[in-house]
C-alpha cells in the first residue's frame, strides 16, 4: 500500500466497500469494543445497580477504609473496597494532600494572590491552621498519629528532572506549634562524616511512629542519599545512596522509594523497595517511571500516582515485593493517603 493509494480512499468521501471489507471493519470494531469491555469490566461491575434511584443515595460509605485523593486538585475520598465507585469531591483545593488520624494537610495552589500555604484541616475539612510557604508544592506527609506534618517545595522548578534544582523541606509539630522551616539547617552526616555544603537539598520526608525520627532524601554533590533524621537532635545521617522520596512501611522495616534508572533521573525512576536491615533493594514490577512518594496500603502493597500524557492522573497499586502486577486503583486521581475504618455511616 502506498501513500497515494491511502489518500485515494479517505473515509467520508464516498468510499465503496465490498462485503469482505465491511466484515473486516466489523471485526476490527469488535476487537476495539472487546478491549474496552475488558478494561471497564472491573470498574463497572456494580455500576448499574449500586446507585439506584433516590432511596439509596450513592454517597461514599465510610464503614470501611477509605482513600483520600486529589481529584484534579480537589480533595476527595473514595472507598478502598470500591475505589472506582462513587467518590466524595470537596471544594478544598490542594496541589498535594495527605491525611492521617484526623489531620488533613493540604498544600494550596500558588495563585494570583500569593504563594502556596500549608493548610491544616480537621477531619471535617475545616481549616485550623495556615502557614505561608515559598516555592512550588511537591511532597507532603503526616505522621500516623496526625501530630507531625512535613512538606517539600521546589524553590526553583527549572530543569528539575535533568539537572539543577532546589528544594525546601519543613516540619510542623501540631502539638507544640513548632515549625522547622528547613531541615537543611540540621547537622548533616554523610557516610559517617560531618558534611557542610551549600548544595545540600532535603526532600521527601517520611515519619517513623515515634513522631521524632524520620527518613528523607539528602541531595548533595550529585548523590541522592537516604538519610535518617532526628527532629529533637536536629541531625540527618545518610544510610544509603540512590534513594529518593522514601516512604516507610507500616512495620518500619522497609522503605519504598524511586530509584533513578541507571542512576540518571533524566531517564526516569523505578519504584523500588529497600530493606533497611539488609540494604537489599527490590524493584517493583511497575516499569513506568514513577515520580511520586508512594504510600503503603498495608505491609505488602504500595500505591502511587501516575500521570497520563494528557495530564490526567491515576492512582495505581503494586505489590511491594517485586511480584504480581500493577493495577489501576483510582482513575482520575493522585496524591493518595489511607484513612482507616471508622464507624460513621456517611462522610462529607
Amino acid at each position: 500500500m502506498t501513500e497515494s493509494e491511502f489518500r485515494e480512499e479517505e473515509p467520508g468521501g464516498g468510499a465503496r466497500l465490498g462485503t469482505r471489507a465491511r466484515m473486516l471493519i466489523a471485526a476490527a470494531a469488535a476487537v476495539v469494543l472487546a478491549g474496552a469491555a475488558v478494561v471497564y469490566a472491573a470498574v463497572a461491575s456494580d455500576g448499574p445497580t449500586a446507585a439506584r434511584e433516590s432511596d439509596v443515595p450513592g454517597v461514599v460509605r465510610a464503614d470501611g477504609a477509605r482513600l483520600r485523593v486529589l481529584d484534579n486538585g480537589l480533595l476527595s475520598e473514595v472507598s478502598l473496597q470500591d475505589p472506582s465507585g462513587p467518590r466524595s469531591v470537596s471544594a478544598q483545593q490542594c496541589d498535594r494532600a495527605y491525611a492521617a488520624a484526623g489531620t488533613v494537610a493540604c498544600l494550596r495552589p500558588v495563585g494570583a494572590l500569593g504563594g502556596t500555604h500549608l493548610a491544616v484541616l480537621d477531619g471535617d475539612l475545616r481549616e485550623v491552621r495556615s502557614i505561608p510557604l515559598t516555592g512550588f508544592p511537591n511532597r507532603l506527609r503526616v505522621s500516623d498519629s496526625g501530630r507531625m506534618i512535613a512538606w517539600t517545595l521546589f524553590v526553583s522548578g527549572d530543569a528539575y528532572a535533568g539537572g539543577e534544582f532546589s528544594t525546601r523541606a519543613g516540619v510542623l509539630d501540631m502539638r507544640t506549634g513548632t515549625v522547622v522551616a528547613s531541615v537543611e539547617e540540621f547537622a548533616v552526616t554523610v557516610d559517617g562524616r560531618p558534611h557542610r555544603a551549600a548544595d545540600v537539598n532535603v526532600w521527601g520526608i517520611t515519619f517513623t511512629g515515634d513522631d521524632n525520627r524520620f527518613f528523607a532524601t539528602v541531595g548533595t554533590a550529585g548523590h541522592r542519599y537516604l538519610a535518617e533524621g532526628d527532629l529533637a537532635g536536629r541531625t540527618l545521617k545518610t544510610v544509603a545512596d540512590g534513594v529518593e522520596c522514601p516512604s516507610l512501611s507500616p512495620d518500619e522495616t522497609r522503605v519504598a522509594f524511586k530509584s533513578a534508572v541507571g542512576g540518571d533521573p533524566a531517564r526516569g525512576w523505578r519504584l523500588s523497595v529497600l530493606d533497611l536491615a539488609t540494604k537489599k533493594v527490590a524493584a517493583t514490577v511497575e516499569t513506568r517511571s514513577v515520580d511520586d512518594q508512594a504510600i503503603w496500603l498495608d505491609d505488602h502493597t504500595l500505591a502511587y500516582g501516575l500521570q497520563r500524557s494528557d495530564g490526567v492522573n491515576d492512582v495505581w497499586a503494586v505489590p511491594a515485593d517485586g511480584t504480581g502486577a500493577a493495577r489501576l486503583l483510582v482513575p482520575g486521581a493522585n496524591s493518595p493517603s489511607l484513612q482507616p475504618s471508622r464507624d460513621h455511616a456517611e462522610v462529607r
Binding site: P11, G12, A15, A29, R87, V89, P109, S309, D310
Partner: protein, 472 residues
Amino acid sequence: MRRRKAVLAAILATAGAVATTVAVLGDATVASAATTTFTPVADTYVDNSVTGTNYGTSGQLGVDNSPVKRMFLRFNVSGVTGTVTGAKLRVHTDDVSGAESPSGGTYRAMSNTTWSETGVTWANQPAIDGATLGSVGSVTRNTWYEVDVSSYVKGNGQFSIGVTSSSSDGADFDSRETGSTAPQLVITTGTSSTPTPTPTPTPTPPSGDPVLVGAGDIANSGSGDTATAALLDNIPGTVFTAGDDAYDNGSTADFNNYYAPTWGRHKARTRPAAGNHEYNTSGASGYFTYFGSSAGEPGKGYYSYNLGSWHIVVLNSNCSSIGGCNAGSAQEQWLRADLAANTRSCTLAYWHHPRFTSGANHAPTTSVGPLVQALYDNNAEVVVTGHNHQYERFAPMNPSGQLDNTRGIRHFVVGTGGAGMYNFGTIQPNSEVRNNNTFGVLKFTLHAGSYDWQFVPQSGKTFTDSGTNSCH
C-alpha cells in the same frame, strides 16, 4: 483489496483516537454517505441529594427531577471529512427495573467542553447553557433512543450535551463504561452537492497564505531540538521561538553550541522571543547578539511585524528585566500604540511566560496580565507561549480566564521545542488539549479572516492537534 485495506487502516487509526469508532457504510450502490460513530470521551451524572458525589466511573447515567439528576456527555469528534449532513445522539436505557420513565430527558448543548468526568458533582457542575436540541418521551428499559443534534454538531470538535428531566420518575441510561450500550454520537457525512471529481487528491496545495511555525524551550545538549529542527526543514514560512531558545544561559556559547546546529539552520526566517534562560546572561546579550535585528531593538525584546493579513506581536515577558509589564509600563504603552496603529484584520502574539497553563512546574504568570488585557482590548485572536515544557491548548478566553467565544483569545503553550518534558498539575478551566510526551512545533496557517493551527509531532510520534478559528 489494496483500497479496502487502506480504508480499514484509516478507520482503525480513528478508532484508536476515540476509543470506539465504527464506520457503517451504506450499500455500495448508494455509496454517497457514510456514518461515523463516536462514543463519549466523558460521561457522568450529578444528584442534588448528594451534592458532593461524583459518579464518573459508574456504568449508569441518570436523569430525574426528584431527586434532581442531570447527566453530562462529552464527545470528541475528529477525523470527519466531507460535509456533515446529520448528527444524532443515541442513548440506551439500562436493562434493570426502574430504568423506565415517562421522560427520557431534555437534551441541551453546553458551552463548557472541558469538565472532568471524575470531578463533576452537583456542587460544581458545569452550566447547561446552550440551545435545546431535543427531548425524549417515555422510555422503557433496555432500548435505544435517538435525539437529532445536527443543529449543534456540524463538524470536528468537542461537544458537550447536558440532559435534564422534569419527571419525578427518573430514567437510567448506560454510560460509556458499559461498552456496547454506551451512548453514541452518529455523524453522517455525504458528498457535497457538487461532487468534485478529484481522482488523485494530492496534499492540500499551498494556499499561498503565510505560515508561522515554531515552539519554545528549544536547544540544549539533548536531542529534542534536533528532532524539532528536522520538522522545520520541511515546513516553509516564518519561524517563531517562544523563549528559552538556548539552554542553560542563553550565552553566545549556548547559541553557538546548541541553537546554531539545529534551529539555527532557519535563522534567516526566524523572529525570536526571549525566555528567562536568555536572561541568565545579563541583559540577554547573547540572545540579542545572535539574532541581531531579527529580535527587534536590542535590549527591548518586543517588536511587531506583519504576515499577509495578520499582525504579529512579539513581547518580552521577562518583566523585571525591562521595567515591568504593568499597565503604563514602557512595553504595555508600546503595545497599545502598536495595536492602535495596526491595520491588519487579525492579530497573533507570542512570548515566553504563559498567562494560562496547567503545568506543574510553573504557575500561571499573572504579571503578563496587562499585556493580555491590551491584546484583548484590541481584538487579538491568538497568544502563544512556552516556559512549561509541554503542549496545551485553551479555548478562547477573556483576560480573566473565562470562556469567551465572541472575543476571547485562544492561548497555546508550546514548550515542546526540545527541552525535557514537564508534568501537568491541576488542569485549569478551559484547557482543551494537553500532551507532554511529544516534542514538536506548532504551525499556523494565517488566512484572511481565519487561521488553522496544527501541532506537528517529532518523527515517530503520533500526538497531534489541529483546528480552525475565525478572526474576531
